[in-house]
């Protein structure tokens, strides 16, 4: 996927002026926080679970080599195959090789962010294989040739009229004057369209919410059941998973599942939670003849041992972006790559480079709401600050910011001189603004005054007035 993260500011400007997007964001904004709050309130041990979740992931990442090998051994024992892929190129090649070997013409897909990260659809299409997205949101985005704007609600940026328009355009064999009374009608039409495709597919590709070391299983959660049809109907099932999806045991997976849906959608549990272990055994009613896991690193192992290691705990619930006022101002596409919102602001620089993704960890007020709702307690603002430190060390911070900061710091280190300078500045601004108490515009303050007045200072500094009061014996 081509990153437009360097153009974050321009993306944001367009997003703020996009009436359809703003309508969608305004509609969805209150929904997730309210649902999550209700789910959390109904589970007294939720806060303890967050600690447990954090500890499970920390332990696993600290012993990732051991668990990966244990898991891989169990996958192979269950008749599956693990494809170890360091890079996105390796992973794309592995998927294509499997599809070519079984002469796949069409491939059904469950919703997977790692698939977006790897650009699997484009790669398959380039090689004459048709990918079919089966998650309702992803399906509609495929019709519209758009990337997802949210990690669990890919079509978060669209309104119902957009869905209807896309369906009328794509499903030309249906009556043009049909009426979509409710969301269910859209869903039914997608189901009917997809049914034949599920049955015709040669390969099914899903992501994984967890990989379980002790059993060699992969786990997906969905609300539509499309993931199950994707992975059980075709002859071949390919799981795309990144290395940090690992957990040691079934019990660990269930602990994290208790956090996942509550944090994501406010459900106690997703509608479908599916564990897949290896190939169909004799006597099994269903299951694939081939079970492959394309295990992807793509930059993650380089995060281990750095200040960004905590980010590998992320279970992709989306609570951070669901509660983020910046996300809800500019929408997911503004972030310019696969992962938006606070988790994207930390992860994206790790995966595509801080030189390209520098805006993302800067476009935060550090309000801290994301950290307060993260089910595995990732200190997201602190990690964004660490990216700003990396930028500063590498002189990637804009020159004007750097020189202003240096000038300010020179004075701030010298309280005596600082007093003289601040006293003069406050006196001048206070005098200029004494009548109205504010400025409509001011040289060099355009960033502030384009959308706000600048309140004028009182005129005295605190320290000047305090010295006067002391001399007069009043304090």
């Amino acid at each position: 996927m081509l990153a437009t993260s360097p153009a974050f500011k321009e993306n944001a400007t367009q997003a703020l002026a996009n009436a359809g997007l703003q309508k969608a964001l305004t509609r969805t904004r209150p929904q997730h926080p309210a649902k999550r709050a209700a789910a959390v309130a109904a589970l007294p041990e939720f806060e303890q679970l967050r600690d447990i979740g954090r500890d499970i992931k920390n332990h696993t990442i600290a012993h990732l080599d051991f668990y990966l090998e244990t898991w891989a051994g169990n996958v192979e024992r269950a008749g599956g195959k693990v494809h170890w892929c360091s890079t996105a190129d390796d992973a794309r090649a592995a998927v294509l090789e499997i599809c070519n070997r079984v002469n796949a013409k069409t491939v059904t897909k469950g919703k997977s962010m790692i698939s977006e990260e790897l650009g699997i659809n484009e790669h398959l299409e380039q090689h004459g294989i048709t990918p079919v997205e089966t998650d309702l949101g992803e399906y509609i985005l495929q019709l519209r040739h758009e990337p997802p704007s949210h990690i669990i609600g890919p079509a978060f940026h669209l309104n119902r009229e957009d869905w209807e328009e896309s369906f009328r355009k794509a499903h030309t064999d249906l009556p043009a004057d049909r009426v979509f009374h409710e969301r269910r009608d859209i869903m039914s039409e997608a189901r009917n369209e997809l049914r034949a495709k599920f049955l015709a597919a040669d390969v099914g590709i899903t992501g994984a919410n967890f990989l379980i070391a002790e059993t060699g299983s992969s786990v997906i959660v969905t609300n539509e059941g499309n993931g199950d049809l994707t992975q059980t109907l075709p002859r071949v099932h390919i799981v795309l998973a990144s290395i940090e999806k690992m957990v040691p045991t079934l019990e660990d997976a269930t602990s994290l599942l208790r956090l996942l849906a509550r944090s994501a959608t406010g459900q106690d549990f997703s509608v479908y939670t599916t564990f897949s272990t290896g190939i169909r055994r004799p006597g099994d009613l269903d299951g694939p003849e081939e079970y492959h896991v394309v295990l992807v690193d793509n930059g993650r192992s380089a995060m281990v041992g750095t200040e960004f290691q905590d980010m590998l705990r992320c279970i992709r619930c989306s609570a951070c972006m669901n509660h983020c006022p910046v996300y809800f101002s500019v929408g997911g596409h503004s972030y310019g790559w696969v992962y938006p919102g606070p988790m994207g602001a930390v992860l994206t620089p790790s995966l595509i480079g801080i030189d390209k993704a520098g805006h993302l960890p800067n476009a935060s007020t550090f309000c801290g709401k994301c950290e307060s709702v993260c089910p595995v307690k990732i200190p997201l603002p602190m990690l964004m600050r660490h990216w700003r430190e990396r930028e500063f060390e590498r002189h990637l911070t804009p020159k004007a910011v750097r020189s202003n900061l240096a000038l300010w710091a020179w004075f701030a280190r010298r309280p005596g001189l600082y007093r003289v300078a601040t006293r003069a500045a406050a006196a001048m601004l206070g005098w200029m603004g004494r009548r109205k108490g504010r400025f409509h515009s001011l040289p060099l303050a355009g960033g502030w005054t384009d959308g706000r007045d600048l309140p004028a200072p009182e005129g005295d500094t605190f320290f000047a007035r305090y010295a006067r009061e002391q001399r007069a014996g009043r304090v």
Binding site: K9, A12, T13, L16, P325, V326, S329, N362, A363, S364, T365, F366, C367, G368, K369, E371, S372, R385, R388, E389, R390, F392, E393, T397, V401, L405, W408, A409, F411, A412, R413, P415, T422, A426, G433, R434, R435, K436, G437, R438, A445, G446, G447, W448, T449, D450, G451, R452, D453, L454, P455, A456, P457, E458, D460, T461, F462, F463, R465, Y466
Partner: protein, 260 residues
């Protein structure tokens, strides 16, 4: 003022904050009055400038550490350090020690300082046991929970408890008083369009309460919200909560309003 104060008079150092020093000294004097009424001996160390957040949040650790060293020297010898700002308070209380993770000696000093540093309103209620203030304010106010005070220092009920005792004051809550106003330090000028969008959401929420006054505990947020309210032509008056609690609202016009 009724309270169950500690037995002896604690020596409190006021960390004025750079914004209060430069922009609205009345908040500093309101803090002194509130602390003295609560039974504290207040001193204002002269060798103070800024808590370092502009450098810290720009990724300039070296400058942040330099400023932190100055703070450790200036504020080491007091019983408490009190700050009329949640974000500067959070900086001293939560972030300062981690700047010295590689130097156990300085880290110990920073931790000692952090442990005795409080935001003003939280200090009055939680440490000094203040339950009532002598102040009157005729009007309906709404209170914005600034992010760092709320999430780093746990300030939520403290200002509301004290405001409840202000004669004539009625508190009416916003739909979401906890959502960020979009100030974010340098964020507001680095990403002005997003910041203005965020503060516009906030001013809409403020207007919907029907309150005639907006209060908060952080001057940065107050300047941002006052700036937007004035640009929108709103009649809502904006003040730091300490001005109201100290009964100093006649000393200075509301933020962003002139002396006429």
């Amino acid at each position: 003022m009724s309270q169950t104060a500690p037995a002896s008079k604690p020596r409190v150092a006021l960390f004025v904050t750079c914004l209060v020093d430069l922009h609205r000294p009345t908040i500093g004097f309101a803090a002194i009055r509130l602390l003295e009424r609560a039974g504290c001996q207040v001193e204002v160390p002269r060798a103070q400038t800024c808590c370092g957040q502009p450098a810290y949040n720009t990724g300039d650790r070296a400058t942040t550490r330099d400023l932190a060293m100055g703070i450790l020297d200036a504020f080491g010898g007091y019983d408490y350090v009190v700050v009329p700002s949640g974000s500067c308070g959070g900086m001293l209380r939560h972030h300062l020690p981690h700047l010295f993770d590689d130097d156990p000696n300085i880290k110990a000093r920073a931790e000692a300082l952090a442990a005795k540093t409080y935001e003003l309103i939280g200090f009055l209620t939680d440490v000094m046991g203040v339950t009532e203030v002598q102040a009157a304010y005729p009007g309906t106010v709404t209170y914005h929970d600034s992010c760092s005070g709320l999430r780093e220092l746990g300030l939520k009920q403290q200002p509301r408890r004290l405001l409840a005792g202000v004669a004539g004051l009625k508190l009416t809550e916003m739909t979401d008083p906890e959502v960020c106003c979009g100030f974010g330090g340098t964020f507001c000028v680095k990403y002005p369009e997003i910041s203005v969008r965020m503060v516009s959401d906030k001013t809409r929420d403020i207007a919907a309460t029907g309150a005639d006054t907006l209060l908060a505990g952080d001057l940065g947020c107050l300047l941002n919200m006052a700036g937007r309210l004035k640009r929108e032509g709103s009649p809502v008056k904006v003040r730091h909560v300490a001005e109201v609690l100290a009964g100093m609202t006649n000393d200075v016009p509301p933020i962003g309003e002139g002396r006429g």
